[in-house]
Symmetry: C2
Subunit: 431 residues, 2 copies
């Protein structure tokens, strides 16, 4: 029923079910509600965010069903009363979901995902929706920064080992969405069709009696187009041995440690002298977007990125919230502090210059009036679910990936700066 073939119903906070029980008991559970998902701010001086995980959210909502196992768990632990259990047994989301398409840029306040339904059916989705959007958006946002720093050189995602084993699969997907070329994660290939690559680690060299034996075994198994890891002992000797073993047709060498910029330059010279002019140089080892940018002038053909990608490069969560903004057509909002947000369901258009450069995000009440839209302005939300069913023909992962690329191109140039700053475009609230 979902990517893991099981119910997502208990990936939920306890208080959602206790609220549900109380609302079913006093009759307010049936009130039509609108919940809006948005980020109050971008993390850490980031200039844009990228929406990730939308497709996973829709899958997870479809799999949000309470089977015998889930109901028994809730009954045994007395989380909710019998009436609520009965209601949960028949649960199936029947409302509407609208949102920014996956891969779209977002800014503070952007109504990224809007869920409409009764309070009862919509409140229980809070944790699941946020978990997926907060994780995947954090990763794809970091990925996009790295891709733009890499300036069209390919990046290989290899961070699975530095994050939760299932977060690793979602991270590989998010990295690809953000423009990474491939991933190391085999489950991401099975589940999401992400291309994977991989050749060998230092362990393979250490296993053998000599580096030469290791290289020979690898070339025998994988062909000359493989990537040989040359920094186990001495890089200069490693490169000599690599070309002796594989010949100048060797696909690539990888350097995983040391000052990779200097080492890449030396390696390029050495490879060229050996006639291996087409042998590529892959660098890895604690790279982030800043390190990637610093390597722009170096003869690097591809980057391997791990830790910084899967940890969102300093921003491991997108910090989105899921807020009740409308009850029975009436706008509602918390009012006690700086956490205030505007009530009422909202829509957004993004204004652009005729050149296609984004100008501003205009957020307005869905109840109207709609702001005047010029030729290059774009309505941002699209229908994602209607009556509990996923809308047909939603963008594929490849299309979402193209959308990220298009979004980055549309940013004013300051928006692509890696340094901390303000959001690339301003958000204007009207109405």
């Amino acid at each position: 029923m979902t990517e893991l073939g099981r119910s997502t119903a208990l990936l939920t906070d306890h208080y959602e079910l206790t609220m549900l029980a109380a609302a079913l008991a006093d009759g307010t559970g049936d009130r039509p509600c609108v919940f809006e998902t948005f980020a109050r701010r971008l993390p850490n001086g980031r200039r844009y965010g990228v929406v990730g995980g939308t497709a996973r959210v829709l899958d997870a909502i479809a799999a949000f069903r309470f089977g015998d196992d889930e109901l028994r768990e809730l009954a045994d632990r007395k989380v909710v009363d019998k009436d609520t259990l009965d209601w949960l047994a028949g649960y199936r989301f029947t409302g509407d979901v609208d949102g920014y398409p996956e891969g779209e840029l977002y800014f503070p306040g952007s109504p990224v995902l809007t869920v409409r339904g009764t309070f009862a059916e919509a409140v229980v989705l809070e944790t699941l929706v946020l978990s997926i959007l907060n994780h995947d958006s954090a990763i794809v946002s970091a990925a996009a920064r790295m891709v733009s720093a890499a300036n069209s050189r390919p990046i290989i995602e290899m961070g699975s080992r530095r994050t939760h084993e299932e977060a690793a699969v979602a991270s590989a997907r998010a990295a690809y969405l953000g423009g990474f070329a491939t991933s190391s994660n085999l489950e991401a290939a099975r589940r999401h069709g992400i291309p994977t690559t991989g050749t060998s680690a230092h362990a393979f060299t250490l296993l053998h009696d000599s580096e030469r034996d290791a290289f020979a075994a690898q070339v025998a198994a994988q062909g000359r187009d493989t990537t040989l890891l040359v920094d186990t002992y001495d890089i200069t000797k490693g490169i000599d041995t690599a070309i002796e073993v594989a010949g100048p047709e060797l696909g690539a060498i990888r350097i995983d440690s040391g000052d990779v910029g200097v080492l890449a330059r030396q390696a390029r010279e050495q490879l060229d002298k050996l006639g291996a002019n087409h042998t590529r140089i892959v660098v890895s080892g604690d790279l982030d977007e800043y390190a990637i940018a610093a390597l722009r002038a170096e003869p690097v053909d591809a980057y391997g990125v791990g830790t910084s990608l899967v940890t969102g490069s300093g921003a491991p969560t997108a910090g989105m919230v899921y807020k009740l903004v409308e009850v029975a057509g009436r706008p509602v909002a918390k009012r006690s502090s700086h956490k205030e947000s505007k009530g009422g369901r909202k829509l957004a258009i993004r204004r652009h210059k005729p050149t296609g450069t984004a100008l501003e995000e205009v957020i307005y009440p869905a109840a109207g009036p709609e702001p005047e839209a010029a030729e290059h302005d774009r309505q941002l939300a699209m229908p994602l679910m209607r009556g509990g069913s996923v809308v047909e023909g939603l963008p594929s992962l490849e299309q979402a990936r193209k959308r990220v690329r298009g979004g980055l191109v549309s940013l004013p140039w300051e928006g692509l700066k890696l340094s901390a700053g303000e959001p690339a475009i301003t958000t204007v609230h009207v109405g």
Copy 2:
């Protein structure tokens, strides 16, 4: 077969299988190997780390089997050759695993988990072992800091929405391991027996026509011992209404925004005036270990912690590595850079003063000689798997939780400081 009822075999990096194929082809795959898991350093000036996830690792290794689905995936995508597929079809880990018990403190270089087996059977576990240990150790390490800052006041984990939906379940477990009292995550209760709690969010108040209606509905459904969230509109009025509705027997109020220290003090005064002397005060909202420590002098009865816990409070991964250290009894190690590590299988003892205060971590070659151990010294590793089977009678989660508590008590006082610093005890390599 595992916590998710499915194979973990593809939660693996592509290169592990290509190395495997090459090693099977040249006969080196059968060489007996030792892989050691350790952290080269602690993150960000941390003074200790806590091992988390050991029990999940053992489960995941048991579920590391290649069924038809996994094999078809690898065959279709030509990840490995036919001989390797046949070998994988029969895969079952048959080696030995030793390691620090879950909940044990660790320091730079501590041999946290050691896997012994043929290269072929041990190399394929790298990603899975590291994903689990790196995630869970990062979370439990952050949890332990918060628990020690909270000075025996209970902490409720409520961070599921800020991390990947499955990482949320593991985080709830790790938080409990680290000493948190309860979690919001229902799946963590089902899967790991973690106690959960929860009452209501701002949405529940906003849903109703008035705060009074909302409180009345909640008290009707959950009883007077519930926790009423009083900061939706005006906290002072909210507290008045809460006590009017629930009476002075109200269990607790929760404040989720604003300057919670000041607000808690005012709330305590107000509650006491209203005769609600036993009504507890729960505070939440972007708390981390520093904020918790800053609230020590305030009349706070419990903390709710979300984002900072599930993101490891600035250190979202433990950064452990899984290194081949021994091949057929011969120590091996990478030698090209600062990433050097010592070859050979290692063991560790922790020396303590007679008072029980930890003094130093002594790491020595397993081949001997064993350093002299005084009365209060303790061998740190224990057998976890033998011949591919999990050892009987391993510590339970509750026992691991006690171990964390004991570990914190054993630290020299500087070790519990929250500020950035050196590891609490030094690591000494002998032999």
